[in-house]
Symmetry: C2
Subunit: 121 residues, 2 copies
Amino acid sequence: MSNIAVDETCSDAAHPSRPTVAMPAVETLENAAAMLRAAGDPARLRLLLRLVDGARCVTELAEAEGEKLATVSARLKLLHAARLVTRRREAKHVHYALADEHILRLIRDILEHAAEETHAA
Amino acid sequence: MSNIAVDETCSDAAHPSRPTVAMPAVETLENAAAMLRAAGDPARLRLLLRLVDGARCVTELAEAEGEKLATVSARLKLLHAARLVTRRREAKHVHYALADEHILRLIRDILEHAAEETHAA
């Protein structure tokens, strides 16, 4: 390995030998990235946030958002396809909920982080 | 409010009156969504994962990824712009680290969730 320090960078030899983090399977990484993209839209993130307190029916969510049922329903389907939310039918109700504790915590963490950064900026 | 039950949906009157979740500022929601999109790319997510054990120099990361320094440097700049990572210069080294505990937990949560879902599918 040559010792050319390019521009602002150090040479390879300058680092201690450290174990690298084990990488998950390609499929897992791609799924995780797709989940983050699904959540990475303000309108969809609002819907996820509305589920933080528990399951809600699609009609309730549309009312709370002041949006058409079809619009909100399409967003929820995308979140469901990404496995960020679960869906449960009960008579005429279609209840959506956050998939599990991972997603609940993720929503809280990213909003707390964004709020901190907004204030710090 | 009319009582028209459209297609698969319930009527408005069928829901208990529940308090809705308080929504953060528009700017906070948009920043949070942008952060999720920045993390929502397999190559960038790999870099974030490599920082779970602590700060790393950009040269180390490029070696670990088997990628060109310029490629990895561009990805890190994007993550830094989204405030998911911090950057610290020290002589010729440029160290990157996860921004804080929110981001550390988020990376772990989404990868655990994706791994569960991959196995369950």
